[in-house]
């Protein structure tokens, strides 16, 4: 029962050419597991571009994922990165952030992870306005497990658990996040690489619960089951059917099978974060006895 030998770290054979993204990613793990035309890689690229734009100190950025195709993001990004359990990246990130409030904590996960099994954490973190940057790749399906329905699957769409078409109304995640109190809510598609980068750059510096939904193609499963063509066809669909409407009322941005996709920044407000509110309130009530208050004022005794 004693452990056997350590397997040597096997460095994946990659091209000697260096992509500028190399410092940001664990290149020894390339190629990634995502299918051809999957949009997750593009979303990751946009995040990296936002880091570059902001010249973020990456030593102070953590990324937390749940389980799913998107959940694998944590494994590829060269940050302190946590691949947790299905549905739980938000409470994990909550602990991480509150244990060290200097960290910027990003949650990068799939729609199923965040809104099915993780739905409760999602709404409560939004309510608390917990200072997390939540990036949700929405491909309308469970990718990792092979294409079952998600709470985002549009009505009538075929999945492996709705073989005759989905008969259950989906969530509009932007609406849900907004209704629960998120500070920032936006939606873009994998095609909107520049706007996505901008959104990511915005949330990286914005306090509170920030939510960006990234609509992405899953050609292997969602597109195939629904005969939507190749990933490129889907990108073209985004091109032709996206309506950009900043400030749109989130309730009016539902996504319907074959319908237009309303994108834009829907919410941008400044509720105090959970920790700000704690510090403010407890500081007021407890005065000098509030330890974090003393520390925050630079008067910490330790």
């Amino acid at each position: 029962m004693s452990p056997k030998g350590v397997p040597e770290a096997v460095i994946a054979a990659v091209s000697s050419e260096e992509h500028p993204i190399a410092p940001f990613l664990r290149m020894d793990r390339m190629p990634h597991i995502w299918c051809s035309t999957c949009g997750i890689g593009t979303a990751v690229k946009a995040l990296v571009a936002a880091f570059e734009k902001l010249e973020t100190d990456l030593d102070k950025v953590s990324i937390v994922s749940g389980i799913g195709c998107t959940g694998r993001v944590a494994g590829y990004v060269r940050l302190d990165s946590f691949h947790t359990t299905h549905g739980r990246p938000i409470p994990f990130a909550t602990g991480l952030k509150l244990a060290n409030s200097e960290l910027t904590v990003i949650v990068f996960s799939g729609d199923g992870d965040l809104s099915a099994i993780g739905g409760n954490h999602f709404i409560h973190a939004a309510r608390r306005n917990m200072d997390l940057k939540v990036i949700c790749v929405n491909n309308f399906i469970y990718g990792m497990t092979g294409g079952q329905a998600a709470p985002t699957t549009p009505l009538t769409a075929v999945t492996s658990t709705t073989p005759y078409g989905n008969a259950e109304p989906p969530f509009n995640l932007c609406h849900l996040a907004a209704a629960c109190g998120a500070n920032y809510v936006a939606r873009w598609t994998a095609l909107h690489v520049r706007r996505l980068t901008k959104a990511f750059a915005e949330i990286l510096v914005k306090p509170g619960f920030c939510f960006v939904e990234v609509i992405t193609p899953c050609s292997t499963l969602y597109a195939r089951k629904n005969r939507l063509g190749t990933g490129l066809d889907i990108m073209k669909y985004y091109h032709d059917n996206t309506v950009i409407e900043h400030g749109a009322e989130p309730a009016d941005t539902d996504i319907v099978f074959g319908g237009p996709i309303i994108c834009g920044k829907f919410v941008d407000r400044d509720r105090p974060t959970w920790l700000e509110y704690q510090d403010q309130h407890l500081g007021e009530v407890l005065g000098d006895k509030y330890y974090r208050g003393k520390v925050l004022q630079g008067a910490g005794e330790r």
Partner: protein
Amino acid sequence: MRFWRTPLDADKMKIPRGELHIIVERCKGCEFCVEYCPRDVLEMSDEFNSKGYHPPKAVRPENCVNCDLCEMICPEFAIYCLTVEEEPVPVEGGKTS
């Protein structure tokens, strides 16, 4: 949905020139770069890489203005563009091509 920058200095501007790099073995042939290159620099190649995908090839490299879009949109981190500085050239009416 073409991404483009309006030049600010219409009289005289640098045209950034890009030097395209394609990591053929990493490409999964999605065609995004080809489709969304605003300058039609790329085409899909007939060749296969060892995984059986067709990578893109640069058919009009001289057109590349280093807009980075291929790099941004490639889900495989398989293509990128490095800047090649050129002399400023006079341009008329802000039109760049």
